[in-house]
């Protein structure tokens, strides 16, 4: 479980996050939704410690991550898998080298064991015969899957995704969503996803948090989301004709 207690975050004079408290559970996919610029990415990066928070606490399991020194933090970081919005694959490494990289740095496995693990992870995300290609040579959906394979290669307890569907067509989005859901259940991870894709919310969200102007505005299940009377939430969720027609039916 991850517990976030009253965190705030500013960059210089500009405050981005205001007093946010959250909990994320093991084996569940928790979604963070909100408009572009509402602070979702900053929130995710604050939770995993890429950004220093100004106030509050972040607790992984029962360890206060936000109070740790850099060395202690690194131990937790090895249990975190993160898929960045653009994939963040290393351009000068092949697919295979990208996925094996965390193992080479941290696992202490033999070359053969590492190879087996990489093949397992690439197979798990349904990628075949792309080992020797460079990120620029594969499609966006494949890049996301490589990024996912890299994120799970060290068997993380915590998985984070920043807009996993951005830049993907609807069909590929569904494949990625289902993959995330399966991985969460198979590996029993705490999974947190930033998204503005309502389809993901309906399909795979065990719990959804709505962020509005840097504040936690609403929190609930995907059934509750369709019947909420929160104005800002409704404006966001039912922005499209499609979603309005779902509500009517």
């Amino acid at each position: 479980m991850i517990t976030v207690k009253n965190i705030s975050k500013s960059f210089g004079k500009e405050q981005i996050l205001y007093d946010i408290s959250l909990t994320f559970e093991r084996g569940k996919t928790s979604l963070i939704i909100g408009q572009s610029g509402s602070g979702k990415t900053v929130l995710l990066k604050s939770i995993i410690g890429i950004h220093e928070i100004d106030k509050g606490e972040i607790i992984f399991g029962n360890e206060v991550y936000s109070a740790m020194n850099p060395k202690e933090k690194q131990k937790i970081r090895k249990e975190i898998g993160m898929v960045f919005q653009g994939g963040a694959l290393f351009d000068s490494y092949t697919v295979y080298e990208n996925v094996i990289f965390p193992l080479r740095m941290f696992s202490g496995m033999s070359e053969k064991e590492m190879d087996k693990r990489v093949e397992f992870c690439l197979d798990r995300v349904n990628l075949h015969k792309v080992n020797d290609l460079y990120p620029s040579e594969i499609s966006g959906g494949m890049q996301k899957r490589v990024a996912i394979a890299r994120a799970i290669v060290l068997n993380p307890k915590y998985l984070f995704f920043d807009e996993p569907n951005s830049g993907l067509d609807p069909k590929t989005s569904i494949v990625i969503d289902n993959l995330i859901k399966e991985l969460t259940e198979d590996f029993n991870t705490v999974t947190v996803i930033n998204t503005h894709d309502m389809n993901s919310v309906i399909e795979i969200g065990d719990k959804t948090v709505f962020i509005y102007k840097g504040r936690k505005w609403w929190e609930g299940t995907n059934k509750e989301i369709l019947n909420s009377d929160n104005k800002e939430l409704n404006d966001f969720v039912f922005a499209t004709e499609l979603m309005r027609s779902i509500k009517k039916s």
Binding site: K45, I48, G49, I50, Q74, K75, R77, K78, I80, M82, F84, Q85, G86, A88, L89, F90, D91, F101, P102, R104, M105, F106
Partner: protein
């Protein structure tokens, strides 16, 4: 005031860069990779500018001397000392600041805006040390060798120029090359280049490490990297010269 802010931030950055590498074999592999990228891939440009500069210094000196009663061997001596003292270190460093500095800034800048540096950090890799330390070691090792190479090639350029144009007798030129040779000039140039190499590897990396935004910011970091590292090369040229030659 801003300059003190940047000096402080640069030093803190260096402190992270000099963290002990986490995985020795990967670190060594990266050093070889950087030696190829920063050093070996610069050989051709260093060759080209050195051979032409050696030739032009020789011809300029030769044609200026014709009108006076100065001994002709001074042409060889002048070429040698210009190359050894200034050209093969400072001018070569300025060229490398353009080529290598821009390369480092765009590589690191691109990694930064595409969240690859954050990806390293969150994996638990010390990204500053992982990315920048191999570059520093590669530059500090290979740039002084490029200086020695440039000295040799510059003299060769001068020799070819004399041979082709017959501006002065070739024997006078060769005599001048040997005349009153000060070995310390080589040491002096190598020391300078070692400092320049450090500047060219770290200043562009620093410029690129803290950017946000997109391709435009990478381009801007690139320009700044080249300008600042060139100015610092010129500044430290004066400082080191004062220390070593006064």
């Amino acid at each position: 005031m801003k300059i003190f802010y940047h000096i402080g931030k640069y030093l803190l950055f260096l402190k992270k860069v000099f963290k002990r590498p986490q995985k020795r074999n990967i670190f060594i592999q990266n050093i070889f990779f950087e030696i190829e990228k920063l050093g070996i891939n610069s050989i051709i440009i260093v060759f080209i500018i050195s051979v032409f500069m050696g030739a032009v210094i020789t011809l300029q000196t030769a044609y200026n001397i014709e009108v006076s009663f100065v001994p002709l061997y001074l042409v060889g001596l002048g070429t040698r000392d210009s190359m050894f003292l200034e050209f093969s270190s400072t001018i070569v460093a300025l060229i490398l600041a353009g080529k290598v500095g821009a390369n480092i800034a765009s590589e690191i800048g691109t990694m930064k805006i595409r969240e690859q540096i954050e990806a390293l950090d969150i994996m638990g890799v010390n990204s500053e040390s992982y990315l920048v330390l191999p570059k520093i070691i590669a530059a500090v090792f290979s740039f002084p060798l490029l200086t020695l190479f440039s000295m040799f090639v510059g003299i060769f350029g001068g020799y070819i120029a004399v041979w082709l144009t017959g501006a002065i007798p070739i024997d006078d030129f060769v005599y001048g090359l040997h005349y009153y040779f000060v070995p310390f000039y080589i040491t002096y140039s190598v020391i300078k280049m070692t400092v320049f190499a450090f500047i060219i590897a770290t200043v562009p990396a620093y410029q690129a490490y803290f950017i946000r935004g997109g391709a435009l910011e990478v381009g801007r970091a690139n320009t700044k990297a080249v300008v600042y590292s060139s100015v610092l090369v010129l500044f430290f040229n004066v400082v080191i010269t004062q220390i070593l030659l006064s």
